[in-house]
Amino acid sequence: MDSDRREFMKIAGAYVVLTGAASLAWNHIVAGEPEKAPGYDLSGHWWAMTIDIDKCIGCGNCVRACKAENGVLLEPDCFRTWVERYHVHPEDPEHPQVDSPNGGYDGFKEKYKPGDGSKNFFVPKMCNHCAHSPCVQVCPVGATFESPDGVVLVDKTYCLGCRYCVQACPYGCRYIDPRTETVDKCSLCYHRITKGLTTACCETCPTGARKLGDLKDPKDPIHDFLKEHMIHVLKPEMATGAKAYYNDLDGSVR
């Protein structure tokens, strides 16, 4: 009886204290937290991705796996990750020929003959999970946010669909999902990595060109990778703190 009364007082008290805007705000504070997995320590990780251009063969496995794992629409403008093919004449690096038929979903048909004096390579693209994300900065309601473990996520139940973040991303990594009318992007397979798994794209990459790394884990091989290779990020002049680290990235890549 006593505990019943205490329970009632608690609930009634919350109603009285947290009325109107306050209770709404409280709901949003609670809703804003990233997904939790049992035993997963948010402050114990700082996620990043390494992409080795020399190893990418343009098979499109990552694109297909990402779409399947995350239920991404099979439309030609809906991608959480995609692969670009670069064809660069060494004397004219400012004008590379780039294509990405269906985002590389179906792989690439041979287009350039070897030995014509050009450079040809594939560049997988995805959200750079920037530490100073311009997309997070501009979101008017904070529906997109950087999680404490370094992943840029979107709260779809909160997104207005104003598309300011799509405009603000220098890398073209965000699109509007026509089913929900909200923004969608790479979540670094947050539902997987918080359970100790790797991302779908890394899991299915046959050459190990893409690797998930935890910069807070001193034993993670990412530290050696970053130390032993010539590393570059996309558009460093944007100063976004990009955490997709590319090995052997050509200067012609935009």
């Binding site: 805007a21 709404l24 705000a25 949003h28 439309e75 030609p76 403008d77 809906c78 991608f79 995609w82 670009e84 590379p96 020929q97 780039v98 294509d99 990405s100 985002g103 693209k125 311009p134 997070v136 900065q137 501009v138 979101c139 008017p140 309601v141 904070g142 909160y158 997104c159 207005l160 669909g161 104003c162 598309r163 300011y164 799509v166 405009q167 603000a168 991303c169 220098p170 890398y171 073209g172 990594c173 965000r174 699109y175 509007i176 929900t180 009318e181 909200t182 944007m238 935009r254």
Partner: protein, 393 residues
Amino acid sequence: MESLLHSVQGFIYPDELQLQWSILIVLYPFITGLVAGAFILASLERVFNVEAVKPTYRLALLTALAFMIVAPLPLQLHLGHPERSFEMYLTPHTTSAMAMFGFVYLWYLMAVLVLEIWLDFRKDIVLTARASKGAKRALYRAMALWSDNISERSLRIDDKVGKFITIVGIPSAFLLHGYVGFIFGSVKANPWWSSPLMPVVFIFSAMVSGIALVMLMYQAVNWYRKTAVQMSCLDTIARYLLYAFIIDFSLEMLDLVHRIYEADESFKTLDFMVHTKLYFSQIILQIFVGTLVPIGLLALVQLVSVRERARRIIYGASGVLTLVGIFAMRWNVVIGGQLFSKSLLGYTTYKMGFATREGLLPALILLLLPFAILYLLVKLLPPWPEGDLARKE
């Protein structure tokens, strides 16, 4: 989707195939610009005692209010989830330029425009309430906030407070539209937008468009009511329009010259766009038809003596061309900024629907809506001294 894919030139990122911001987002800076400009013109009379533009003071305020009421509608219509837009007030993200829109808008609408109009019309409202019966009386009593006090002293206070609000209102009008420019100018990912000049250019183009609109409205209203236009008023407004236009055009040319001379990595891509996809809207409509021609016409009136009738035609023509030019400017900023890829390697095309949610039809309706609202406002609060309900009855 297929036809869109075929219209792509060069390489674009997959998410750039369709434009994110449509003609509705073109309307947003266009309409807020008209509001800010009309208000600044109205303030001239009040703060700087420019007697000549007095006949347009109340009309300009009501015009600003009519457009202000419509300003957030294109944004609402554009949002994927308009029902969530109120979240911007409840949990604004303080680093977002856009999050501040709601507050700047509310401040300007309620604290500046509505209050100033109310103070200015309060005497008329009370007199109308006194002179009418039934529902009309109840309406005007409510509009007067059930106050019947129009003593000398209270009117003096109204005037003082009104003047203070106007003084606060001028920087607020600058804030409102400068801030709209900042929304675009602060996007570092987009070289067509990213410029510290953007808010300043937006403010001056707002003044240009607002002054042109009031100049046209003043002529249209007098034509409709078959009353005489005060030429001294029209001449003064036209002169202000010319001055604002010269500053606006100089700023835009400064931006252009700077881009051409610096010729950074984005220049070739943007230059190609201006000479192809934006040629008609930028070179022809914005710069030539919408800027050089009206500046030339307005300057002509200053340089040589032109007869009254011809002056009226010149003012009408240059007003219309100015509005076309400023609309084209908004179009070139918003749409132009999305036609090229952020990879700087290709271009996409804007396909505008007609009777779709973000198509031409809703855009036209939203452009006409302020005039319908203005018609109602004018019925409610007649802005002309001799047609004043209270004074007539």
